[in-house]
Subunit: 243 residues, 2 copies
DNA sequence: ATAATAGTGTCTCTAAGACATTATATT
DNA sequence: AATATAATGTCTTAGAGACACTATTAT
C-alpha cells in the first residue's frame, strides 16, 4: 500500500500523481474505409513509405494524441484521404497482441468507415477478396487492379477480416447498408450492396418486401434515369422511429 | 520526412527507434464479470480504496503490462476475484474519452466475462437494474442488497450498459446463454437465463422448439432432482458444427 | 415489336405463438 | 388424490422463397 496516496483526497492524490511512473504501450487508431461498387468491396490503403514494413500496404492510421478522443483520431487519420467530415465511422475492435508491431508495444483501436463509392476517386481503392463463407471469419486478401494480392502490413489482413465479419453480422439489423449508397438509390442498388457484403445472392422478392416493410425507406417519387430499361423508383433512407 | 528513418531497413530503423519520443495515454483493462441467478443479472464490483474516486464501486481492472496480451491482462484483473482460468471472456469496446479518468489520459479496453452463479460466492455480486428496454442502451444501475443504488466509479455505469446491450444483441446467435449455466441444465433454466438477459418473458413452447432444433443441445438422459414436481431432463451444450 | 428490368399477386413452406392434452414427479 | 411442472401434439398466423404475370422504359 502506498502511503503517499492511500487515504488522500482526489485533489491531493492528483497533485502527486506521476503519469511517467509506469512504462506504457503506444496507442494507434487504424481505419478501414470501405465502399461497395460493381459487386466488390473496396478498401482505402496507403503504401508505407517508412519503416517498419516500408513498401507494404496499410490501413490509414495515426497515433492517438493525449487530448483527442479515439473517434477524433480516427477522423484525423482519414482527413487527408477522404472528405471525412461526415462519413459513417464506428469502432470495431482493439488489437493488442504484444508482437503485432516490431517497434514497441502498439495497440491499435480499429475503426471502420463506410462511404458511397461516388464520393471517392477509385485511385486508392483496392478490391477485397473474402476467402471464407458466412461469418466464419479469418483474414481477407486485398488485390491490386492487376489481380495480384497485396502484401499487407502488420495484422491489417486480420483487421479487415474482422470488419467484413462485423458487416455481415450487422447488415440485417442496422442501417449500414445505406451508408454505402448515395442519398437516393433504387432497391436494386440496395440489394447489390447487401449481396456484395454477404457474398451470396439474395431472393429479390423477399428482399424488396423486407426492406419496404422495415419502414426505413421513403419513396422520393423520382425515378432513376440514363438506364436502358424501365427506370426504378428512387428511395431515401429514413431513420426508423423504433416501433 | 525524417532522414534518420526514411529509406532505412526495418532493422536499422528499429535500432534507432525511441519509444519515449511521444507522450502516451495509459491503457487499462476493466472486466465486467456477470452471472444470472434468481432472475437477475449480477456483476462483480470492487470498492475503490484509493484515489481517485475512493469509496466508489468499480469493475475489477488493471493497467496493461508491456508484454502481456489484452486478454491476459483481463484474466489477471479477475485472478484474485474468481477462478478465472477458464471463464468465458470477450472484448467489449474501448472507452477513450479524454476526461474519463481524472489522473491522466486513461483508455479502458473493456471485457466481459460470464460464469454460472454456482461458481461464485454471492458476497461481492451486486444486482444490475436496467432502466431501458430492448436494445435502446444507456447506463445501467447497480443496487446493493438493501436496494440502494451504488455510486459507480468513472464511466463504469456506461460500460455495464454496453455489456447488457451487447448480451441482448448476441443472445440469439451465439452461445453466451450457456456460459451462464453449469455444464448440465434444464430447458427451464436456459429460458430463465434468456429472459433475464432480455428483460422480457419468452414463449415457452417456441423457446423449447427453437433450442432443440438448434442442434446445440444434447440430452444427457439424466434428470434434475430435489425438485418438488416432475423433474426435467438435463441437457448439455455441444458446439454446433456449422450447418 | 423486342429486350430488359421494375413491380405486383399468389401459392407454398417454415417457424413462432397459442392452447389443449398427456406424463411424471412430490406432498 | 391433489398439485405442479415437463413434454407432446395441433391449429393458426406471419414471413420467406418461388414463380407467374403485368408495367414501363430504350432500341
Amino acid at each position: 500500500m502506498n502511503d503517499r496516496t492511500h487515504g488522500a483526497t482526489d485533489s491531493e492524490f492528483l497533485a502527486n500523481y506521476d503519469p511517467a511512473e509506469f512504462e506504457r504501450p503506444s496507442v494507434a487508431v487504424d481505419v478501414a474505409l470501405l465502399t461497395v461498387a460493381d459487386g466488390v468491396l473496396r478498401v482505402l490503403l496507403v503504401e508505407r513509405e517508412e519503416p517498419p514494413q516500408a513498401g507494404r500496404w496499410a490501413l490509414p492510421g495515426t497515433f492517438v494524441r493525449m487530448d483527442e478522443s479515439l473517434e477524433d483520431a480516427a477522423r484525423r487519420a482519414l482527413a487527408t484521404k477522404a472528405h471525412a467530415a461526415d462519413v459513417f465511422l464506428e469502432q470495431l475492435y482493439t488489437f493488442g497482441a504484444p508482437e503485432r508491431d516490431p517497434r514497441t508495444r502498439v495497440l491499435s483501436v480499429a475503426y471502420y468507415a463506410l462511404v458511397d463509392a461516388g464520393r471517392l476517386a477509385h485511385a486508392d481503392l483496392r478490391r477485397i477478396r473474402v476467402p471464407w463463407e458466412g461469418e466464419d471469419g479469418g483474414p481477407v486478401e486485398v488485390v491490386a487492379t492487376d489481380g495480384e494480392a497485396l502484401s499487407l502490413a502488420f495484422d491489417h489482413a486480420e483487421i479487415l477480416g474482422v470488419v467484413v465479419k462485423r458487416l455481415r453480422g450487422k447488415l440485417d439489423y442496422s442501417p449500414i447498408g445505406f451508408q454505402l449508397l448515395p442519398e437516393c438509390f433504387t432497391l436494386r442498388q440496395l440489394q447489390d450492396v447487401h449481396e456484395t457484403i454477404l457474398g451470396r445472392p439474395l431472393n429479390k422478392d423477399s428482399f424488396r418486401r423486407r426492406m419496404l416493410a422495415s419502414g426505413q425507406l421513403e419513396a422520393t417519387g423520382q425515378r432513376e434515369d440514363e438506364v436502358e430499361h424501365r427506370p426504378a423508383e428512387l428511395y431515401r433512407f429514413v431513420h426508423r422511429s423504433a416501433v
